[in-house]
C-alpha cells in the first residue's frame, strides 16, 4: 500500500484546493498501521455516504476510504415533496458532511469525476487523480433528454423544473406554485418505470393537492402518467385523492409526454395537448453519469447489473455499484440505497480480509409517503438473497398500510431523523 500512501500525499500537496478537510488529514496522520486497502467512493448521497461510514466502522479503520462528491452539502430527496406542500423548507433537509468525516476518519474530495480507468484502477477528476483497490460508484440517476431536448438546458429547467433531485429546483417549483393564481392548473408527469422513488410522484400529487386545497381551492392538478396505472400503493393513493382531494386531482394513465413547448408550458402526449400554469416534468431516467463513463451499463439497458452478494459490477471487476443506478428489481429508495451500501461494505471488508462475503444477505426496507402535511403511509418488505435465482426477493409478510395515519406521519418523520443521522454521522 506504499504507493497508495504516496498518491494520497501527492494529492494532499494540492489538498486544500481540492477541498480536503483538515479533519481527514489528521485522521490520516493518526493512522499508525498501513491500511489493508483503499476504497474510493464516487458520490456522497444515501448510498455513498453509508458505504464510506460502514467500511470504516466494520474494518475498524483498517480500510482507507476516500469519497469524491461534487456538492458541499447533502440534500435529502425523501421529504422534499413536503417543501412543495409547504410544511418543510429545503433548509430542513440540507446537511453537512463534517460529522461523518470527523467521526470516521473519511477523506473527502469535492470534485467531479471525469474518467475511470478500471485496468489501471485509477479515477480522474477535474483537479486530480486517485488510485484505488476497489471503487464504489453511487451516482444516483441521470435524466434521458433524447425525447425532450427542450428541457436539457438550465434555461429550460428554470421554466420547467424536474425537482427530482432535491435542491434549488425544489425551491423553484415551490415558488412557481406559490405564484400561481387561484384557478390555475398544475401539470406534472410520471415517467416510465423504473425511476427513482416509485411512490414519489404520487406523493408529490398529494402534497401539491394539499397546498391547493388550503390556498387555491379553485385550482387543479393534472397528472400525466407514462405507466398504465399508479405503480406504487395504488389503492391507497386512489382513495386519498378521492376522499381528501376530490375535484382537485385529474389522473391520466398511459399518457407519456412526447413533447413540451417551454414558452407556453404546453405538454403533448399521444392523445392530448395540455396547457399548464405551472409545469413539472420528470424526465425518464437511467444510471448516473459516472456509471455511463465507467462502462457499467450495457448499450440496450441503462441500469447497472451487479452481483447482489457484493454489489460488484457484472461488467467491470473491482468496481461496485450502489443505489438508484443498480438494475431494477429492487425499489430505488433511500432506505434501499443504504441497505445495499451496508451489504457492499460488509462484503468489501470480508474480501479485503481474505474472507468470503456473507452468502445470504437479508435486509428490511421501508418507504413512507406523506399524503398531507402530517399523515403518512408505508410500503415495507424484508428482502432475502435467493441462491438459485441470485437476486434479492421480498419475503412473506411485506405490504402497505391499511390507511394513512398521523401516527405513521410521526414515525416517518422519526425515520427521516434516524436515517439522516445513520448516514451522516
Amino acid at each position: 500500500m506504499q504507493t497508495n500512501r504516496r498518491d494520497f500525499i501527492k494529492l494532499t500537496g494540492v489538498g486544500l484546493g481540492l477541498g480536503l478537510a483538515n479533519a481527514s488529514l489528521s485522521a490520516f496522520a493518526r493512522a499508525t498501521k498501513p491500511p489493508i486497502g483503499r476504497v474510493v467512493v464516487v458520490g456522497g448521497g444515501y448510498a455513498g455516504a453509508t458505504v464510506a461510514k460502514y467500511l470504516r466502522m466494520w474494518s475498524l479503520g483498517a480500510i482507507e476510504v476516500i469519497v469524491v462528491e461534487v456538492n458541499k452539502q447533502f440534500v435529502s430527496c425523501p421529504l422534499s415533496n413536503l417543501v412543495l406542500g409547504g410544511s418543510k423548507s429545503i433548509n430542513d433537509l440540507t446537511f453537512g458532511y463534517d460529522a461523518l468525516k470527523a467521526n470516521h476518519g473519511i477523506q473527502w474530495v469535492q470534485d467531479t469525476v471525469t474518467a475511470i480507468d478500471s485496468t489501471a484502477k485509477k479515477v480522474t477528476m477535474l483537479r486530480g487523480e486517485l488510485s484505488y483497490d476497489r471503487l464504489v460508484v453511487a451516482p444516483g440517476i441521470d435524466f434521458i433528454y433524447n425525447d425532450l431536448p427542450m428541457l436539457a438546458s438550465a434555461e429550460g429547467q428554470q421554466q420547467i423544473p424536474h425537482a427530482w433531485k432535491a435542491g434549488w429546483q425544489t425551491v423553484n417549483l415551490r415558488k412557481q406554485l406559490e405564484a400561481m393564481p387561484d384557478g390555475g392548473v398544475f401539470v406534472m408527469n410520471v415517467p416510465k418505470a423504473p425511476y427513482r422513488c416509485p411512490p414519489g410522484p404520487y406523493e408529490r400529487v398529494c402534497q401539491v393537492a394539499s397546498y391547493l386545497k388550503a390556498h387555491k381551492p379553485r385550482s387543479k392538478i393534472i397528472v400525466l402518467d407514462a405507466n398504465a396505472e399508479i405503480i406504487s400503493k395504488k389503492g391507497l393513493f386512489t382513495k386519498v385523492w378521492a376522499t381528501l382531494y376530490p375535484g382537485i386531482v385529474d389522473y391520466r394513465p398511459d399518457s407519456a409526454v412526447t413533447s413540451v413547448d417551454v414558452a407556453t408550458k404546453t405538454v403533448t402526449t399521444d392523445f392530448d395537448k395540455v396547457s399548464a400554469d405551472v409545469l413539472n416534468i420528470i424526465p425518464p431516467q437511467r444510471a448516473g453519469k459516472i456509471a455511463q463513463i465507467a462502462n457499467l451499463t450495457e448499450k440496450d439497458y441503462p441500469w447497472c447489473e451487479v452481483d447482489f452478494l457484493t454489489y460488484e459490477s457484472k461488467l467491470v471487476q473491482n468496481v461496485h455499484v450502489l443505489g438508484d443506478s443498480v438494475a431494477a428489481g429492487l425499489p430505488k429508495s433511500a432506505h434501499m440505497a443504504t441497505n445495499q451500501a451496508k451489504v457492499c461494505a460488509n462484503a468489501i471488508v470480508q474480501l479485503m480480509a481474505g474472507l468470503a462475503p456473507d452468502s445470504v444477505p437479508v435486509f428490511a426496507n421501508t418507504c413512507y409517503s406523506f399524503v398531507t402535511d402530517k399523515s403518512a403511509m408505508h410500503v415495507a418488505n424484508v428482502y432475502r438473497y435467493d441462491e438459485a435465482k441470485k437476486i434479492m426477493i421480498s419475503a412473506e409478510g411485506g405490504g402497505v398500510s391499511l390507511a394513512p395515519s398521523d401516527k405513521e406521519g410521526e414515525y416517518a418523520a422519526s425515520w427521516a431523523q434516524n436515517i439522516w443521522t445513520d448516514v451522516l454521522t
Binding site: 443504504t338 437479508v362 428490511a364 424484508v382 409478510g397 445513520d422
Partner: protein, 127 residues
Amino acid sequence: MMGLATLLITSVASATEVFVLSASPSHMRALAASCAACHGTLGNAVVPNGGGNGVDKAKLLAGIDKTDFLTKMLAFKSGEREATVMHRHARGLNTQEIEGLATYFSAQTPRQPSALPSQVLNKNHAN
C-alpha cells in the same frame, strides 16, 4: 418467558448450516444495520419522546434485554401486538434471524446520540 427461550434454543440447535451462516457476525451486523433507518446506528435512535419509532429513550434497541426483544418481535410476528409497520419486518424474518438480532442488539452499548442539525442550502449546490 422461559418456555419461549427454550423453544428457540431447541429450534436453533436442530437447524443446519443455514444457522451457522446466519449466526456469523458479518451476516448479522448487516441485517441489524438495516434496522438503523428507523432505530439508529447500532440500535441508538436519535429522536426522543416516543420517537425512535415507538421506542422511548429508556428502551433503545441498543442494550435491550434479549428476552424482552424476542417477546416483542414474536408478538409483532404473530400479530398479538398491534403495530404500524413492525409486523411487516418481523414476519419477513425467520426465528433464527430474530434470535441473532436479539443477541446482537442486547450486546450494543446504549448511547445518547442527538439528531444531526440541518443547514442553510448553499448557493452553489447543483440541481
